[in-house]
């Protein structure tokens, strides 16, 4: 299977491509951002783990669509065996006309492409887990018209998405009220969020049938939301009039964060859902030393929940924030944008290079010691600035 079959037309066709014309990076030489020139040498990051398979390799980032061998997958209840022929998607609960669909029936419905950067909400939580992100194209039928056809009843508030994968869960462990039951994987959204026209029931990724580990034969695609919301092996959609509080909504993937209110810090728990504004330096390059200074450039990527990124700034050590150049293309609303910056001549020795993204609403990607990160006690939503350490030798 190749993902190099994606074409410029794919990008143009996508409903999410509202802006620039996309030019595929695949025809470009290895390790070359549009701004990268011949003769630039990679400067390895210090004190970082090596890249491995099935994870994004930031230092070699070159393709806007992530190569298949760098695509991560995370699951909590294992990878189930699902027969696509007999698989059904059931829509039940507070609907006038409950329905069930085969994969073929879903394929016969109107198809839509969605370009999307999918990030695990734990991505960036530590050095050992900061490569769980990829960019690709998903294809499937939009969810909203299907829900409408089923006739959502008054009083419906919540849409629950259930996967085939199941596992025993224990509540109130170690107490007299301990209870263990087998439950399916589930995540939910409000009715408003779930009827966003961008949501897809996807059966293809990058024009190929979904991979088993990526949710085949059917995956919910929620642009701008963390990976956990994109339910794999989707088999049931339930419309409910109460909040759904399964493990991955109410107990796990819950961010515990302190908020300053007057003189005190109040801790608040929220369910992980929309992606946060984020950027990272993917790699640093250099040229031979000239007059004691080393010419250095930095390259990276920035992304969000779909809110446009207005600018990315880069800082070396304690110097001023300098504006990076955002690539005009390829771009898409729910995808990462590549950026680059010429940092000029730096002295030989060790340096720290860090980026921060700013969106059109003025939101600035926080540093690790800013309250919204420093007072966050759980590791999900790790969108803090990530300083890269480098050493420039003679």
């Amino acid at each position: 299977m190749t993902h190099r079959s994606l074409t410029r037309r794919d990008v143009l066709r996508s409903g999410s491509t509202a802006m620039a014309v996309a030019v595929m990076q695949m025809s470009m030489p290895d390790f070359v951002f549009p701004a990268e020139e011949e003769g630039e040498e990679l400067v390895e990051f210090l004190n970082m783990p090596r890249s491995g398979p099935n994870r994004l390799d930031w230092e070699t980032l070159e393709e806007w669509f992530t190569p298949q061998e760098q695509v991560f997958n995370v699951q909590h209840y294992g990878i189930p065996e699902v027969d696509s022929e007999s698989h059904r998607l059931e829509i039940t609960g507070l609907v006038d006309k409950p329905k069930a669909f085969t994969i073929d029936e879903l394929k016969e419905r109107p198809q839509h492409d969605q370009l999307m950067t999918l990030e695990c909400s734990g991505n960036g939580a530590s050095k050992g887990f900061m490569n769980a992100i990829y960019n690709s194209k998903w294809t499937g039928t939009p969810l909203a018209p299907l829900l409408k056809e089923c006739g959502i009843q008054p009083g419906a508030k919540e849409i629950v998405f259930i996967g085939v994968d199941r596992q025993q869960e224990t509540l109130r462990k170690g107490t007299s009220r301990e209870v263990t039951v087998e439950v399916p994987f589930g995540r939910s959204m409000t009715l408003t969020d779930a009827t966003n026209k961008k949501l897809l029931l996807a059966h293809q990724r990058n024009s190929q049938p979904l991979e088993k580990e990526n949710g085949a034969p059917l995956r919910l695609i929620v642009p701008g939301w963390y990976g956990i919301a994109n339910v794999k092996w989707l088999t049931r959609i339930e419309v409910r009039d109460t909040r759904y509080m399964g493990r991955f909504m109410g107990r796990d993937y819950v961010t515990l964060r302190g908020e300053r209110r007057g003189g005190e810090v109040v801790f608040v728990e929220t369910s992980v859902n929309k992606m946060n504004l984020k950027s990272i330096i993917a790699r640093v390059t250099r040229r031979p030393t000239q007059d004691t200074l080393v010419p250095v450039k930095a390259y990276g990527a920035a992304w969000s929940d779909g809110t446009p990124v207005e600018k990315v700034e880069v800082r070396v050590d304690d110097g001023p924030w300098q504006p990076a150049r955002l690539d005009e293309e390829p771009r898409a609303k729910y995808c990462w944008t590549f950026f680059s910056i010429d940092l000029g001549g730096l002295k030989e020795g060790q340096h720290t290079v860090v980026s921060r993204a700013v969106d059109v609403n003025g939101r600035v990607q926080p540093a690790a010691d800013d309250d919204e990160i420093a007072l966050k006690k759980t590791y999900w939503e790790a969108y803090q600035q990530w300083p890269r350490e480098i050493e420039l030798t003679a």
């Binding site: 090596r50 491995g52 230092e59």
Partner: protein, 273 residues
Amino acid sequence: MLGGDDSIGQPVPRKQHFANHDVLFATPRGSSETASASRAAKAGAKLNDQRVETGIGRPGLRNTEVSQPASVAGTVIYKTDPNRRWRYRRYYLKDQRKGHLAEAVIALKGPNLKGLAPAGEQQLAIIDQKNFRFMPETLAIRAGSRVKFTNSDPELHNVRSTDSLNPFNISIDTGREFVTTFSRAGGIRRPVRIGCIFHGAMRAWIYVFDHPYFQVTSADGTFLFSNVPPGRYRLEMVHPAGALRWSQPIEVTPSTTLDTKILVSPDNKEPSK
């Protein structure tokens, strides 16, 4: 799959000239405490950051009588292909023009090697967890050796092996350690795969041999087996991180040094399983 390649340099016998060598215990070249460091020192190899403590008791081939012993020496060279980029090459090819391949496991295979140079007292190697990496990632030891896993990171790590004969799953807090013995020799084909349950990107491979003729290359890509009994062998190489595999029959003649150049390329990549 093992297999030669027409482009591979043919071994060329030459007169023995590594006098008084006592190389026997194969570890990465950074293992300065081992006897194998003698060759590394001759080659001027820089010590890398792999911390391996070995040689306790240092049994040695001196105790084993090999008639007219010979040596097998060589360099592993990776030939890059611009159309088939190996993205990990930045870790293992210090100088891409020279192509010296680091962290490759080299070993002899033959019917009469087992039992040569008894392991003697137990050996101890160290694999540290530092900067969210196993260091070293690739280790080769004699069967019966112990490995001490340590954690130098300010975060909880874990070492896990699903090896059927010696499975373990131990969490190691900062500054703590876990020691285990590797008794079974899986040779070059069946390494013990090591991971950290908390950090999926961390990985390591431990190759366990029932003879002394194995080594892990350092940045200069070289290796040397001394005191080799003359005879016919297979010279085998694997690079676990790069999924590279190579092997070729060799004949070791008395009192000579067989000088080899192992040329590998993307053609030597193992098919993914």
